[in-house]
Assembly symmetry: C2
Homo-oligomer: 310 residues x 2
């Protein structure tokens, strides 16, 4: 195999209560990347549509950093290089896992071209190095669902233990991306280093409720559990009209709504496409009526994760 084209989905990290440990993948939105072997032993990164402004030096781009981590673990020397051509539908800085998508697509594609020396789950730790380059922390709550699909839980970082969670087929995400930028690194800085044990207990009660609700499935329980008392109260201050958008989603019948990753995107979950569409329209209205450009997306949960297109 000389060339491969892959799709890596947008992801929603945290999922309200699951700060730093939970995430899910979207089905109908993501980036595509064409990776091909080249004769020169170099990694050449070419920016396609949607990649404007991203660095093309492999040492500065998440693609290069993630593939570097993979090659180091691979250990064998190869007499060829790789060319990466990315088309991005996930805007960098949106909070929808744009860097995770690039890193995941790159390591997934390279692994295919090398004859699959690694299992998909093993690729997560390489893609995490891309996240480290992008945000300063090697978090896995975007790359795990991006690669594996579905809902994932990072039970532990040391050692890395990724759990593929049970979830119902009928589950839709509506996401709005207001056109303002928040850097993940800034958004992490404003969180407190210590939290009241009372809040921590509330949070793990909700994590437990959400995972139980997804497994049963119990939509009402999913909805009651989509509460974040740790990150949302602080981070939402950086997102204009967050409260209005959340309220609008709940009015439309959302099970719950919160910040996607570190924002500024906001997600809502619902159990029907019709409700998801109503939420997307309501999301859009909140920002349009306040003169802020916003993109909205509707998608089922993606069961496949990163996959081969051709």
């Amino acid at each position: 195999m000389e060339e491969i084209k892959v799709f890596a989905p947008a992801t929603v990290a945290n999922v309200a209560c699951g700060y730093d440990v939970m995430g899910f993948a979207m089905k109908d939105i993501g980036d595509t990347m064409t990776i091909r072997k080249i004769a020169t032993k170099k990694w050449v990164i070419e920016n396609g549509r949607g990649c404007e402004g991203l660095p093309v030096s492999p040492k500065e781009n998440v693609i290069g950093v993630a593939v570097e981590a993979l090659m180091k673990a691979y250990g064998k020397s190869i007499d060829f290089g790789f060319h990466f051509y990315t088309t991005k539908n996930i805007k960098p800085g949106s909070g929808m896992g744009s860097s995770a998508s690039s890193a995941s697509a790159a390591v997934f594609g390279v692994n295919q071209l090398l004859g699959k020396p690694f299992k998909k789950k093993e690729l997560v730790k390489f893609a995490m190095e891309g996240e480290r380059a992008a945000s300063g922390a090697a978090h896995a709550d975007n790359v795990a669902p991006c690669l594996l699909g579905g809902f994932t839980l990072i039970r532990s970082y040391e050692p890395l233990d990724i759990i593929e969670l049970q979830y119902p087929d009928m589950l839709y995400a509506s996401v709005v991306h207001p056109q303002i930028e928040i850097k993940t690194s800034d958004s992490k800085k404003i969180l407190k280093k210590d939290i009241p044990i009372k809040d921590a207990i509330t949070q793990w009660g909700n994590v437990g409720g959400l995972i139980s609700g997804l497994a049963k499935p119990d939509y009402d329980l999913i909805g009651r559990s989509l509460q974040d008392v740790v990150a949302e109260p602080i981070r939402s201050k950086l997102i204009p009209y967050f409260k209005d958008a959340k309220k609008a989603a709940l009015n439309e019948g959302a099970l719950g709504a919160s910040i996607s990753g570190s924002g500024p995107s906001i997600f809502a979950l619902s159990f029907s496409r019709k409700i998801a569409e109503g939420i997307a329209i309501a999301f859009n209205n909140v920002y349009a009526s306040n003169g802020i450009m916003a993109n909205v997306y509707i998608s089922q949960v993606n069961a496949q994760g990163t996959q081969i297109i051709s």
Copy 2:
């Protein structure tokens, strides 16, 4: 109905990572209580075997406090009283939910004698008032599994939201109660009011892993998730030979082990009765060889909770 005899099981609260929110009920160990209507409009508490030293004044005994809460919600005046006769197999101060068992048996029995005005789940909040009297906090992590059986999650205290979790049939608990006493109120005091967010994230990763592991079921995941970085490191200092006992359980094949409630009892989970028996013997050896009297128990998880015997 004039008289009823009920069984209320021993319970293991917290279940390692689920501090203040999780608990499960044991099958083969618990208290029995005979509740009968009496002509005088009073509540008479009589201590049977195992109740030595417990107060008999209804205002001081968890039975009286819990039944008082139930009657207040019931609202109607009745022209009779109740006599409570308890036989305790769960030692007070053991960390196996002794006060929860008394409170649960009492409200369950009274509810039956009143013609079941309340659903079983509604009884939890009355039994919680008994817990408030016993330990200073109206916690539900013992009374919920004691009344409902199985594994329960307190997703939220305000409003109270109790989730009956999925769990596998084949799951055994081994519990050792070393004969030293720790008061729940003391054991709560030594915990910190604020915790590092890093530890909180570890804890909710494990809560998620445990609930997912129980639902799938995935015994290995259950085992990896039975970790407590919040309460166990502090509370275990009050329990002599805790580390030895935990290590002994893991050596015998336990999925995991931790403190039962606020201690001093220690529990371990396993997937076969044979392993559970090996753990119980190992638990006993640790304490016997150090000159501390200890009781050991083996039980499957109790699916029924508090129930009518006759």
